[in-house]
């Protein structure tokens, strides 16, 4: 089967099947989509899967049943959403994946879905690890605060980071535990790990929220974040970038959730019959001491 076409219209009814709304990053993403739809006058059918791939698939199914014109989908996992992507294709509805891709052995961009717009989580891990290697200044014992166990950003951000660190024998990951992408849990885990590994002097958190939790943990333990312990993370939310400005976080690899403009522009291009590349990469910012102050405006 070929990719279904999209008729050229002024107003579309488009579906946006969000995976969850329990962290600032997702909220920013949703808001960006909604704002852009409102700006362009499209009707956005928005669902929230509350963190369940199965529910997300069912949400997409209900969009297909409602006969939306196109679907924007940030698939929660790379495999479970494939069947509904194919179902949408068969129902003649083009699907645009945003922020996460699916398994290419099961569904192919440009064939089963239009394209994938987003970042590369492994690459984010790589970039932040490279920064650490360059800027550690003799610090070397790393505590890693992982995202939700089993979730793909956690797996990829870990892989991207660990792969680079493995190549530099002077660094050592002394502990790596899940903080569930959440500030409170991140704080508690950091407190415990710092207790058990007092020699640790670098903390790598899979997102800013956990990094902020780690800062609270350090302060409670009487250490100075940024000085005694170097903190790096991923995402680039405002509080995080502000922490760079304050000297508490060393660097953050951005991962922009503001997909709205790019997503709808891509849809318009597709309707206009333009050739869409299979992967539209987000140009993620990278924040560190040199630019945080200037770029804080671009943080979400």
């Amino acid at each position: 089967a070929a990719l279904p076409p999209l008729a050229k219209k002024d107003k579309y009814k488009v579906g946006f099947a969000q995976t969850e709304s329990n962290n600032p990053w997702r909220l920013a993403e949703t808001k960006s989509m909604q704002d852009e739809a409102a700006k362009l006058g499209h009707q956005l059918v928005y669902t929230d899967a509350a963190g369940s791939s199965a529910k997300q698939a069912s949400d997409v199914n209900s969009m297909i049943a409602q006969g939306v014109d196109a679907i924007f989908l940030p698939p929660r996992e790379d495999k479970p959403l494939v069947p509904v992507i194919l179902a949408a294709r068969d129902a003649g509805i083009p699907v645009f994946l945003i922020d996460r891709d699916v398994d290419h052995t099961m569904a192919k961009p440009g064939q089963d879905y239009v394209t994938f717009i987003g970042s590369d989580f492994i690459n984010e891990g790589n970039r932040i690890a490279e920064w650490v290697v360059k800027n550690a200044n003799g610090k070397s014992k790393i505590i890693e605060l992982e995202g939700t166990t089993g979730s793909s950003p956690a797996n990829d951000r870990k892989k991207g980071f660990d792969d680079i660190i493995a190549k530099h024998s002077e660094f050592k990951i002394v502990a790596s535990q899940s903080g569930d992408f959440a500030r409170d849990k991140g704080r508690q885990v950091a407190e415990t790990l710092l207790q058990a590994h007092p020699e640790a002097d670098i903390i790598y958190a899979h997102n800013d929220e956990m990094a902020l939790g780690a800062i609270a943990a350090l302060e409670a333990a009487g250490k100075t974040p940024g000085k005694d312990v170097l903190i790096v993370s991923i995402d680039g939310e405002k509080d995080g970038v502000q922490a760079i400005v304050d000297g508490k976080i060393g660097a953050i690899c951005g991962c922009s959730p503001l997909f709205g403009p790019k997503a709808f522009a891509t849809m318009a291009d597709y309707a206009a019959g333009k050739q869409i590349p299979p992967f539209i990469k987000n140009d993620d910012d990278f924040y560190d001491g040199t630019n945080a102050k200037d770029k804080i405006g671009t943080a979400f």
Binding site: V45, S52, N61, S62, I64, A65, K79, P80, M106
Partner: protein, 322 residues
């Protein structure tokens, strides 16, 4: 006497009436609500919950509870995904087998170690979740598309979704067991008075043992469908399924204290809650008010409240005489 019987009937079938009302509402309000596609995908998706709720229903009728069903389903999905390259039967066997093992552990904890069901199954819930993650290496596990395994979740019998057909068969069997076998009666008797049942010569432990194992097996089967329907074993799926199942069972008019309940109305409870999600999605599509996800949970909570209050009124009258 006639009035009593009437009240009893309304009490039992109240959920059916609510279900009909909700469907009618959806039909009148949304264009494609009763479209073939929507109905079939709805049935396909909710078949998993139906199976889990069936097991839960039996456990609750004995006066117990099984919090582990969600993570056991996740475990089952991983196990069956791992076994799926070997074909449908190994896939099924692995998923159901994993569920049975988990159910067996629950059964042993409850009947041999005499743990309170809430705690025993809470522990199993965590252990099953951990096992699923370990087994899957913290990732989703692809199922094999070659072995035909995906037919269980994605295939059709003529035009009827296979998983829904499985659920229907399971409910028919469940209803038969409950109403026409000694074991079924024993389930209700144990829930109605465990000590009395034991003194009456029932092997209460055996009955409880059976329901937990069955619940585990059904959760495992739901896991197989999960893996097959979505093409992947998912170790972190299944969160909150237990509460969905409990809500469905209660909405279906089964007493949480045990001793009284019905299989058919449990299915109606599942559909009622499942259709509610669907209605909320359709409401979003209307574009009048774009309900945020947050409002949806508020509405779901309120809906549960209304149904439960209704049930309470009816059962209170039904049991008022006691």
């Amino acid at each position: 006497m006639n009035r009593v019987r009437l009240v009893r009937i309304i009490g039992t079938y109240g959920v059916l009436i609510a279900l009909a009302a909700l469907v009618l509402f959806g039909f009148l309000r949304y264009d494609r609500f009763l479209s073939f596609y929507n109905v079939m995908t709805l049935l396909r998706y909710n078949s998993m919950f139906a199976l889990v709720a069936l097991g839960m229903c039996f456990v609750i009728m004995t006066g117990g509870i099984d919090l582990s069903v969600g993570s056991v389903a996740a475990l089952g999905s991983v196990a069956s995904a791992l076994a799926s390259p070997y074909g449908i039967v190994p896939g099924l066997a692995a998923g159901i087998g994993a569920g049975l093992v988990a159910g067996l552990i629950n059964a042993i904890l409850v009947t041999r170690a005499n743990l309170m069901p809430f705690i025993a199954t809470l522990a199993t819930m965590q252990a099953a979740s951990g096992s699923a993650l370990l087994l899957a290496g913290n990732q989703t596990v692809s199922v094999s598309y070659e072995s035909g395994f995906t037919a269980i979740g994605q295939g059709n019998l003529w035009t009827f979704p296979i998983p829904a057909a499985i659920a229907v068969v399971a409910y028919l069997l469940g209803s038969l067991v409950l109403n026409y076998t000694g074991t079924g009666r024993a389930v209700l008797a144990v829930g109605g008075g465990e000590d009395a049942s034991r003194l009456m010569g029932l092997r209460t432990d055996r009955v409880k043992f059976l329901v937990y194992v069955a619940s585990g097996g059904l959760a495992g089967l739901a896991g197989v469908i999960l893996a097959s329907q979505f093409g992947a074993g998912q170790p972190i799926e299944g969160v909150g399924w237990e509460l969905f199942a409990i809500a469905a069972v209660v909405v279906g008019g089964t007493l949480l204290t045990g001793g009284s309940g019905s299989v058919v109305t449990t299915l109606a409870g599942v559909l009622l809650l499942g259709i509610l999600f669907n209605v909320l999605n359709f409401e979003n599509g209307m574009g009048w008010i774009s309900l945020s996800a947050y409002w949806q949970s508020v509405i779901r909570g309120l809906f549960l409240l209304v149904v439960v209050l209704l049930q309470a009124r009816l059962t209170q009258r039904r049991l008022g005489a006691l």
